[in-house]
Symmetry: C3
Subunit: 306 residues, 3 copies
């Protein structure tokens, strides 16, 4: 399967077969990894991380993935005003390409920006999150975590809980999980469910307690106050009362289900501390799997030099 | 030609022969480069990037150059107050030297600081821009871009347009280009021409339209509001009307001329978008050539360890 | 001596024999180092630098140490609010561990945080400074600098001058130096001496002139206004008058004594410029020795992969 030189801006850039290929490669990497970094192969490749939004978490995950491959990492923090100095984001991207990295990882608050940039550039672009639109590498690592646990994705019941409207994680997960044959239900305050959710082929509910028991995967989303244009839940306390994964609700979760969260977790808001310690909660596994999946993605997508 | 262990704080640190040597080496690097990074030679060298002024662009160019050589990069962002904590810049530089890098790249808002620091240190210092004074590596990459196009510099007509008074890029380019035998003319609002411009051996004009037709190289400078002590042009709109490289003015530019800009470009101010797309506009080539020239500079100037 | 896989959060984590071992190894590294970086051994190891407090100085020292060992460095600047996003520091640390570095270097403004984190993690934690509590790697590099000069630590008179109460450097130095048999005296304004100083086994004085003459080591501390909850000295000028190492006081210092300072130095406050230039002042040597000691620490403490 040859992904070399292509961009990954959305789950729709991938076929079902390609997703299976990526999951299998990541599994093989994990099994053959002794937790050690391979001695850097001196591949002579480099990747530029162009982050217009701050993200220590995703950035370091890509960085560690690059380290495993012996890639050089060019960190471009474009969040500060100085980085921009009035230049357009497209000029910035063209300028970074002229430094001749083998690929570019982009995060931007504007939906669709990585796609636009990928059309302008000759090198592959990997979307590390754009606005409310997509976060395909997160969806892939989540899929890997689910597949690792159940040996399949098809037929599983996945319940995504929280602010669906502002979540690129939810959007990319819905695309990927449905493509792989999972049944996806979303649960949250009606104000935080996008109007067209049912058109995405997902069931919608605002009753968490009634739906926890049938879920194989419970995916809690982060309450991101910074992404909400106006305050759409009465209070965090109210949100937690109705949608938080609390100790009581943990009793409703299947014994062999898993609980996911893209992080960073607001403990006591989306997930209680006692839930974090439950073996079903795989938040830390997600982080570890993230490095592995991104290692595979960088290796597969970053092609020969220009 | 042995430059090893010397500092580069100004174009006047170089002889004509040394500039020719650097241009030739960069040409050879470009021709032999497949766009790929050479597999890092594990040279065991390191370079400290000590930036007292923010500059993603110049910093990453040096970083990528270091990567090509297999050098380790120590990034010292001295722009934040925490980096300084009341320490003098000279103590900071001595402290960085004590970490034992093989050379130091310095940017500072104060003219002459890199020279002063180079006198204090035993390792080579490369000036990545100091105040209104000098930016020798930019002038060298510009010279390479010009030489690559015309096969020579001597005898060419170079027109530098914009805020000459506050431009270290202009200053270093004038020094280098005149040393190499080009005829340099500067064009800008009289308030932004340094009083002694004619003493630098350059012609001065404020009539862009009358002078575009004879130029082989049109070098537009960035309008840097942040460097102007008071507002010396009535408005950006007026600046653009008189000195912007607009679509109409593009018609006056020679068919085989080139248009340069040190970046980042304020589209619509110094250069219109339509001009950016013109094949004569080599702004992106400049960025690519910058990495190559800086690769040669780091290789040549950073000598044996202390 | 096997330190591999252990954490270093305080001097009390080390035995006297282990300190001797570290000093000897650093000496050997320094003697065998030609100032050059060893060609990176491609060890395939990596270290995460998790700094909740800004520190260009200590961070770059660890970075350079990692470079010497061919370790990959994952820089996590957790000082910005974005890095935290409401996540607890313990979740942040667990998340960073999940990226699978071989060890973690932590700085935090809270006393005891690195110890708490070391209890949570499976990988070694090295304390790069926590609140007013400890800075063991600084104490080790200071001990190395002292030992290098005198060939011993036992029996030496060490005078620590300044703000003892808010100094983790003083605390760790007192622990280490007393463990190694030095006689330690502290000198500063009574408001800046911790109430229980004598219980630490050190002599206390506020008369600098009377005590300089008998000191083999004069260690001036940084006046850190940012660490003082209220202004506990009348003025910096008054502080300098009574406790600054001035030109006149230099006359009182033994000919073969050494003067240390953890940096960054506030010239004219703790140490006058003329003193900085005196050969007894080893502030720059401390920086150089810091990289060497931290190279040894990273090599010794970072064990086999998980």
């Amino acid at each position: 399967m040859n992904l070399s030189g292509r961009s990954l801006t959305d789950i729709s850039d991938l076929s079902r077969e390609e997703i299976v290929f990526l999951l299998t490669k990541t599994k093989s990497l994990k099994e053959n990894s002794r937790g050690d970094l391979p001695s850097p192969r001196g591949s002579g490749k480099s990747v530029a991380l162009l982050f217009f939004e701050p993200s220590t978490r995703t950035r370091t995950s890509f960085e560690m993935a690059a380290f495993r491959l012996g890639f050089r990492v060019l960190n471009l923090d474009a969040t500060s005003s100085s980085a921009q100095k009035g230049e357009t984001i497209y000029d910035t991207a063209k300028n970074v390409e002229a430094l001749r990295p083998h690929g570019m990882v982009i995060r931007h608050s504007g939906s669709g920006i990585p796609l636009q940039i990928s059309k302008l550039l000759k090198i592959p672009v990997i979307n590390a999150g754009d606005g409310f639109h997509a976060h395909p590498t997160q969806a892939l690592l989540d899929a890997f975590t689910i597949h690792e646990k159940f040996g399949k994705i098809s037929g599983l019941n996945v319940l995504i809980v929280g602010d669906i409207a502002h979540s690129r994680v939810a959007r990319s997960n819905i695309s990927l999980l449905r493509m792989m044959g999972a049944k996806v239900k979303v649960c949250g305050p009606p104000t935080l469910i996008p109007p067209l959710a049912t058109e995405l082929g997902v069931e919608v509910t605002d009753k968490l307690d009634d739906n926890l028991g049938s879920a194989d995967v419970v995916m809690a989303l982060r309450m991101q106050m910074e992404r909400q244009s106006s305050f759409q839940v009465p209070s965090l306390k109210e949100y937690t009362t109705r949608f938080g994964i609390t100790e009581e609700r943990l009793g409703l979760v299947k014994k062999d289900a898993i609980i996911l969260h893209p992080g960073p977790v607001n403990r006591g808001v989306e997930i209680m501390s006692v839930v974090m310690r439950d073996p079903r909660c795989q938040v830390i596994d997600q982080v570890e799997n993230g490095v592995l999946m991104r290692t595979v993605l960088l290796e597969e997508f970053l092609g020969a030099p220009l």
